[in-house]
């Protein structure tokens, strides 16, 4: 937050079963918050990907979850993953930001645009290529979210070191 900008440096996966239900979300967010603080970070956002890749609007359930996060942090952005942008041909990040205000979440237009005024930017221009490669290699099997941690407590859902290694060496 040094120059008035927010840098998103890490992401923690939460759930893939019953993502509309809140109790384990509450536990996970509270613990993610504790973890973030230990790294002098805070929760800046929430990301979600829907079963149907054509579905790129923030759903009612997701909006509720994102609103719950607003209570915890100041500037929280909800990102919907646009999976159709994860192809090698795509030059856009495939993240659609929604900004919360009052009781509504609105899509931020022109978010990752070319111009200087665009609200969001990728700091590392290799990220897109790496992400596309990892998707093609089915790297998602290396992701352990809080759901999986609940089935196997030895899995590190906060740091996901194996996945980070794959990202580093991709």
């Amino acid at each position: 937050h040094q120059d008035g900008k927010t840098r998103y440096v890490d992401a923690i996966p939460l759930a893939h079963t019953w993502p509309q239900l809140t109790p384990m979300f509450d536990v996970a967010v509270q613990q993610a918050s504790i973890y973030a603080q230990s790294k002098q970070l805070s929760i800046g956002g929430y990301y979600v990907a829907y079963e149907d890749p054509a579905d790129i609007q923030l759903s009612a359930s997701s909006a509720l979850l994102a609103t719950a996060l607003l209570a915890a942090g100041d500037r929280v952005v909800a990102f919907v993953i646009d999976a159709q942008q994860l192809t090698p041909e795509s030059t856009r990040p495939g993240l659609i930001p929604f900004i919360g205000g009052d009781s509504q979440w609105k899509e931020q237009p022109g978010a990752f645009g070319e111009g200087k005024g665009s609200a969001f930017r990728l700091e590392n221009n290799q990220v897109l290529g790496v992400a596309q490669r990892l998707v093609a290699e089915r790297a998602e099997t290396a992701i352990h979210d809080f759901d999986e941690h609940l089935d196997d407590v030895t899995l590190d859902w906060l740091q996901n070191p194996l996945l980070n290694e794959r990202i580093r060496t991709a």
Binding site: Q20, L21, P23, M24, Q30, Q31, A54, V153, T154, L158
Partner: protein, 281 residues
């Protein structure tokens, strides 16, 4: 029977959807013609067909379909596979007419009814899928898996109360399955019915062993109820009327904490420390 065939049979038995694994196991067998002599040959072909269309291997799927049709030319079970391959290549209208034809021949055909509902769901017509599934359940109310599917459709549309009703039906039919009590507990919590959520989480603890979600649930809800009772203003959206006495809540929270600490002794440093900080906050 080779170990691959055993594994394929296990996957069929568990009804898990693991198309990648199925193809990995089956392709060498098919290439060396090791399947045709076995008793389960056509079950394997059907299984690999379904996995093939999941993995967009349409040519393989077509080849298997021809084998199946040759052996069972009049079968409705095979006919529905024609419907499915049409769905897979993006011909939902053809698929729909196949399923409709099947139902004309046999109005009770469960496979066709379910595929029609799946078509609606895949096309994003959730409301219609819900209506069809509800109609199906009118005549097949013992199909608890269908009740579960309906619950999921309702959850997608954030209709939690309706989803909870479906879970109640499932639990009536499968009262000893902790998974359903767990889903119901989480639905109750999400709807603000904390007293019922606590009861159901405790049921999960009773029905399973070392269930982390359940222990977290008991601790989370017990703490929440205590916190709400301490407030002077009541929140009308939250229901805690049937919750246990404070002393019982304290004990439950304490027991849940003990169980969580015991389980976390196996976890790595970071997740363990974070969990312990959460428990003490």
């Amino acid at each position: 029977m080779s170990s691959s065939l055993h594994l394929l049979a296990d996957i069929r038995q568990s009804s898990e959807r693991r198309p990648f694994s199925v193809l990995q196991l089956a392709e060498p067998l098919l290439n060396t013609n090791s399947v045709s002599a076995t008793d389960d040959a056509y079950l394997v072909y059907e299984q690999v067909f379904i996995s093939a269309i999941d993995e967009r291997q349409i040519e393989l799927a077509k080849a298997l379909l021809l084998l199946l049709r040759k052996r069972f030319p009049a079968s409705l079970r095979v006919k529905r596979l024609y419907g499915m391959i049409n769905e897979a290549v993006g011909h939902p209208d053809e698929a729909q007419s196949i399923y409709t034809e099947m139902l004309a021949t046999d109005p009770t055909n469960v496979l066709a009814s379910k595929r029609l509902i799946a078509l609606l769901k895949a096309a994003g017509h959730t409301d219609e899928a819900v209506a069809q599934l509800a109609a199906y359940l009118d005549t097949h109310s013992n199909d608890f898996e269908a009740w579960l599917e309906l619950a999921h459709l309702y959850m997608r549309n954030h209709r939690l109360a309706q989803a909870a009703f479906c879970l109640e039906e499932v639990i009536l039919q499968q009262p000893a399955n902790h998974y359903f009590h767990l889903c119901y507990a989480e639905l109750c919590y999400s709807m603000g019915r904390l007293d019922l959520a606590l009861k159901e989480y405790l049921r999960v603890v009773e029905l399973s062993t070392d269930n982390l979600r359940a222990f977290y649930g008991v601790k989370l809800v017990a703490d929440r109820i205590r916190e709400l009772r301490a407030r002077s203003k009541k929140d009308p959206a939250l229901c805690i009327d049937d919750a246990p006495q404070p002393a019982t809540l304290d004990r439950l929270a304490q027991l849940a904490t003990e169980r969580l600490v015991a389980i976390y002794s196996r976890a790595n440093q970071v997740t363990k420390t974070t969990a312990e900080l959460w428990l003490s906050s």
